[in-house]
Symmetry: C2
Subunit: 361 residues, 2 copies
């Protein structure tokens, strides 16, 4: 086996090493079953324990009461973009969206395709999505207000979530779920593709407030109704067992090794301060997001030229730092430092950035 | 680590041991990337090679020409039940279905929900789905004819596929894909949840004839259009990387270790003869499917009483034979003997069945 690298991929992303080691050690025989976790029946006690543990850990970590269901639905956040308006839009009432970049725009597009009355009540498109909008007016009769809590491509993040009074918030939290504690009360639905902060690709976690389930229309296809998943503990059909199992191990690591979300938030804050302070004292590197909108998960920055950026990414990889290229739609550089990227990874990155600047600056 | 059992689960089901061992050996470092296959970007060359290899192996194994696309779509066969009528039904033309049990019925239900003109042109419901219908008349103007090639719950299988002239066949092959070679020409679409014969749960393989793509309506949600998956090599959004990777290893095992589908068919034939010959010579065990409709994948049988069936399942597990309970909807016993269950598993099962009969018969 070769050496593990520091993995700054935006998603799929780094997983905690102890999680990978546990999967590896029991891959041929899950808990004495004589089968791999990929081979046990989803109707068995073995798997029931796994999925229920993942749900309980999610509820404990986020402080969710019994008024929330935790669901696992395949198809990523992208399938949620269409399921949300299908299930949660109310007759003759608009759906509100805030546009903070590519992923918000995709969510808006899928509501549009369905002919919903979409109100984009705020957007940061005027300055290439470099900031989180501060001014917005929620439609009085909105079905919900949708926003994206962290924008992987533009490197921005809502430091404080928007307020919408009694209108339920709906949030794509794919890239910062479990990175900090928050009050779930104003949320009707929270969803997150697993492959950034909580597991491998192949499943979205959907947290739905139970009163939202009453909105699901009867005539939807079974696999597109939240009620189908809620009524069968996400096992109307076979779920992605290996992905849910891995999510549970990541959540266990969060609870038992990290020590919960307050602690995780503190570590993520330290990581963010280190890298942004370094960028701010440098004339060579330049952050792309407004300071008050910066993401603690995805650090986006530019170098003086595209040639230097290419060289930076290539030399980084040679030094064991992978995934530093910006999203193909925007260019530049990006270091994704999700929960599983520790202080050591950020320090290694800063060391490399310092050396590179000395050599090329 | 404990001992591996003989796994007769209906799905998720046994995987070839060499496949599991390969996953285990490279779980922390995929091909020198310094990352797990769960951590590499789906936009990287590493994963591109994996998905393209899986597609090429599928095409070689099934003898598919360039007129077919191979897609990977999350949500299992159950999501396909709704995507098929959404994408492939033609205006003012019926959709034909043959009902051979639970899974056919679910496919029919999803076409009904969408208000399609569903013609169930044949059914074996009159005798509890114990046989494959021989008589049916395809609607002259049908959009397609849908059938289920193998019925896991009732233990029946189409020995020869139905003919429908120029009407494209659409087939749920979840439980017998890659178990035998066949001529793909009459098929407009073939789909299979991976978790029975080709991998772990979490992805359906969809094989679509390219002319079918012209039927997709423009106004469908992006994630429910076959054209979205076809146009982006199944990577419009992040696919289930670990599942596609495992499918590729199973297909590699089929090609390189087993030696292709003719060879696989021969082995499956031997396994089927062994177990059915044993059942037929016994007065204690009784097969539930008509002889000419028997499945080579799922062997369903009864014992003289439900108490004996319970005892049989429990003692089997003690002897290292797992998953012998029939589906919760029908009771009885069932041994699923997919590709990854070898002759040794079937022989061990027959030995146990003989001993049990001697003791209890």
């Amino acid at each position: 086996m070769g050496e593990r690298i520091y993995n700054f991929n935006a998603g799929p992303a780094a997983l905690p090493l102890p999680v990978l080691e546990e999967i590896q050690s029991e891959l041929l025989d899950f808990k004495g079953s004589g089968m791999s976790i990929m081979e046990v029946s989803h109707r068995s006690k073995w798997f029931d324990d796994v999925i229920n543990e993942a749900i309980e850990r999610t509820k404990r970590l986020l402080g969710l009461g019994d008024d929330f269901d935790v669901l696992f639905i395949q198809g990523g956040a992208s399938l949620q973009f269409c399921m949300i308006p299908m299930n949660l839009s109310l007759k003759d009432r608009p759906v509100d969206y805030i546009n903070t970049g590519t992923w918000s725009a995709k969510a808006i597009k899928e509501a549009d395709i369905q002919g919903k009355d979409v109100h984009v009540i705020a957007s940061s498109e005027d300055r290439n999505f470099a900031y989180i909008p501060k001014e917005y007016q929620v439609s009085k009769d909105a079905s919900y207000l949708h926003f994206t809590s962290n924008n992987t491509i533009k490197g921005t993040q809502w430091a404080q979530f928007p307020g919408a009074g009694d209108i339920p918030l709906v949030c794509d939290m794919s890239s910062d779920i479990m990175s900090r504690p928050f009050d779930a009360k104003p949320f009707g639905l929270i969803y997150a593709g697993a492959q950034k902060n909580i597991g491998p690709s192949g499943t979205a976690m959907v947290i739905i407030r139970k009163d939202m389930l009453e909105r699901t229309p009867d005539n939807l296809p079974s696999m597109l109704k939240y009620t189908t998943f809620s009524g069968k503990n996400s096992m109307y059909n076979t779920p992605s067992c290996i992905v849910i199992y891995t999510i549970n191990l990541v959540l266990k690591w969060l609870e038992e090794t990290v020590g919960g979300l307050e602690k995780m938030q503190q570590i993520n804050g330290e990581k963010g301060s280190l890298i942004y302070d370094f960028i701010d004292q440098s004339d060579f590197y330049k952050g792309t997001a407004d300071k008050d909108s910066r993401s603690l998960m995805n650090v986006t920055f530019r170098l003086p030229s595209e040639d230097l950026e290419k060289k930076f990414v290539a030399e980084g990889l040679k030094e064991g730092l992978g995934g530093l290229k910006g999203h193909r739609s925007v260019g530049g550089c990006r270091a994704s430092i999700y929960n599983a990227s520790g202080l050591d990874a950020v320090k290694a990155l800063i060391d490399f950035m310092g050396d590179f600047e000395k050599k090329e600056g």
